[in-house]
């Protein structure tokens, strides 16, 4: 008895007041299973968060379980749901959001969870560009923002200097990027002038957001399942043409699909690289040169001032199972509330390189002097808050977006081989992608 009282006391003083609804919990702790896709050091950081939650209170024990890559985690969660054994909480990558929203009774959306459990989960505390990606059109939040990143431009200061470029002034427009890449190759002796990871995310999804150009109709899919892809518009076409011309000139080197382009920059082989802000930890650890983070460049011919880029990463979804009790949902809600605390968010942000998802987490990091000590770490945050959030910069809400990305990358590769031009590649990708969207629409309409 003494021990329990002692622990309860400790928990209360450690800030249990911020984890509502738990003070009265009695008996054995509620077990919460949390499936995630964070490998390596990120997995360790995630476990640290869970351990911290388990330490400040004794009513709930969160058990994190690594389930492989994002798609593998998604498939595992779906299979488990079908077997009636879904985990309480699952980490789902941003492109799976469209599929999860169509999951009906398989999930409990954040607003529903808050309503049913009485635990306060306030959308207003999140950064707008993050919140909007995971919210319904009316502003109610569907899933819990967790690890968010956004693509930024990474420059190699050493190579910049050797090429006679100012290492303190990264290129701001695409025109300047082309000039810089050219100089990096011809004067700087860089093996690679410019490269990119996530070709679709960076060069179509974010390019569209920054320049207020739609990726799909119906507000990029936010307003209905009948959205159609429209990323073959003239601005997108001219951007892809630019990349193809740079490839031909040898100033742009294609590094593969998805995250494949993440290995070149830390190795010091490229002057300019477009990668997720989430590679910061790897860059700090591996780079044998002076790295520099900069905001994504824009094309003034398309739009005079750039808007915010869109996020990637993952959010947390609460899943349902036939035998799940109200106490379990309440436990999940209290864990989510813990994750939204400024101190939790700030520590996750600083230790992983993901952006803070809450305004409080960003404010705390600033107050702690984190950005003064780590120049460039605030670039993704500033870029996410650049300009105004429009229907084209809120994010994407499309089913089977993973497949659409793969299709775009296939067609882009064929164009890089010289078998088709940018226009044909985008037209084909739009046609094939729309077929995928219609299949998805058919499969979820009931």
């Amino acid at each position: 008895m003494n021990r329990r009282e002692l622990l309860a006391g400790t928990a209360a003083s450690a800030g249990l007041a911020l984890v509502p609804g738990l003070a009265l919990a009695q008996g054995a702790p509620v077990q919460i299973t949390f499936w995630h896709a964070m490998a390596g050091p990120l997995g360790d950081e995630l476990k640290r968060l869970c351990d911290a939650f388990n330490a400040v209170q004794k009513a709930v024990v969160v058990e994190p379980v690594f389930k492989g890559t994002y798609p593998e985690t998604m498939t595992a969660a779906i299979a488990a749901f079908r077997a009636g054994k879904a985990p309480h909480l699952v980490q789902m990558y941003e492109v799976g959001t469209g599929s999860m929203l169509a999951a009906g009774a398989a999930v409990k959306q954040v607003w529903q969870l808050a309503e049913e459990t009485g635990v306060r989960l306030d959308p207003a505390i999140y950064m707008p560009a993050v919140r909007s990606y995971y919210s319904l059109p009316d502003g109610r939040m569907a899933s819990m923002p967790f690890n968010s990143s956004t693509p930024i431009m990474w420059c190699n200061k050493d190579l910049f200097e050797r090429a006679g470029l100012d290492p303190e002034r990264p290129p701001e427009t695409w025109e300047q990027v082309m000039t810089a890449a050219e100089a990096l190759r011809s004067k700087g002796g860089a093996k690679v002038g410019m490269t990119t990871a996530w070709p679709t995310w960076v060069h179509l999804e974010c390019f569209g957001a920054i320049h207020d150009v739609p990726f799909a109709t119906r507000a990029n899919g936010f307003e209905g399942l009948d959205a159609e892809l429209v990323f073959n518009s003239p601005p997108m076409r001219s951007h892809i043409t630019r990349l193809l011309e740079m490839a031909k000139a040898g100033t742009f080197t294609y590094a593969g699909r998805g995250a494949a382009g993440d290995s070149l920059y830390p190795a010091g082989e490229t002057g300019i690289s477009f990668n997720s802000s989430g590679i910061r930890a790897a860059v700090v650890r591996d780079a044998r040169f002076r790295p520099m983070a900069a905001q994504l460049p824009y094309d003034p011919a398309v739009r005079a001032t750039p808007n915010n880029s869109i996020i990637g990463g993952a959010s947390l979804w609460t899943m349902t199972a036939p035998d799940r009790s109200a106490a379990e949902y309440k436990a999940v809600a209290s864990f989510l509330a813990f994750l939204a605390r400024p101190d939790t968010d700030a520590s996750w942000h600083q230790r992983t390189g993901y952006v803070p998802v809450t305004l409080g987490g960003a404010g705390l990091s600033l107050a702690q002097g984190y950005y003064a000590r780590n120049p460039g770490a605030d670039i993704p945050i500033r870029q996410l808050n650049r300009g105004e959030v429009t229907v084209n910069s809120k994010g994407l809400r499309l089913g089977r977006l993973t497949e659409i990305r793969a299709i775009v990358e296939e067609e882009f590769e064929t164009a890089l081989q010289g078998k088709q031009n940018a226009g044909a590649a985008l037209d084909t990708a739009v046609a094939r992608g729309n077929k995928v969207l219609r299949e998805f629409e058919k499969s979820v309409s009931r």
Binding site: F81, R82, A106, S263, L264, R400, A406
Partner: protein, 293 residues
Amino acid sequence: MERRTIFPGWATPALLLVPQMALTVLLFLWPTAVAVRASVMRADPFGLSETFAGLDNFTALFTDPLYLAAIGRTLVFCGAVTGLALGLAVLLAVFADADIRGRGAYRAALVWPYAVAPAAAGVIWALLLHPQIGGVAGLLKHLGIAWNYKLNDTQAMIAVVGASAWRQVSYNFIFVLAGLQSIPRTIIDAARMDGARGWRRFRTILLPMLAPTLAFLVVVNLVYSAFETFGTIEALTQGGPGRATQTLMVKVYRDGVVNLDLGASAAQSVVLMALVMGLTALQFHFLRRRGGR
């Protein structure tokens, strides 16, 4: 003389059969039935709603030029992997069978690659072959070959075929070596006395004696290259560039696991199942022929 045990009644034999039958039903018949059923349905991933789609999924498959192209590509890939893996294995086995110093060590080393998981092998190859930072790529550049398998169809195919065959060579090597060692020395010695040497002895004596082993290996290698190389391809090219290395297995994964299009993926699985059944029938055919001798 053969000794036979005759059980009285049917209860004991039935009881003895139960474990095997249960396993077959649980691990084969039941999943197969689920796959066949899913292939004629249109369902959302969560199984919340399902509508009967008839043969829609199959029609969509066989009218899709991309799927038909994947079939042709898979045939080329399987043929290349099988040819390369078998050819190298025979070559290595013939040399390892010779009386050379330290052949035990050679044999052990040649078997090692088989112990490496396909995905791990894929990652190792991906690093070695990486166009910008890979060791092999650097070597090729010195030889004047512009190596970039991420953009060159042919090089991508060579990369996945090589990485897939590399592992299978070990497996084949064991069988071929065993096959060679089971050839009676007297026959080889007789051939030697008749003046048959080197290539001629290999072609007229060893190869025919190895034929049953090779026939069996061809089937095993085809099945391997069609179904077990997914990890290697996914780690190396994810089916790219474009669709240059997208085999049927890669497509099943893309449609089923990534895309969660269960109907289309199930239909493809059923097609693949028919293929495996055909290959298995072929294998039994060869085994029977060998047993009949």
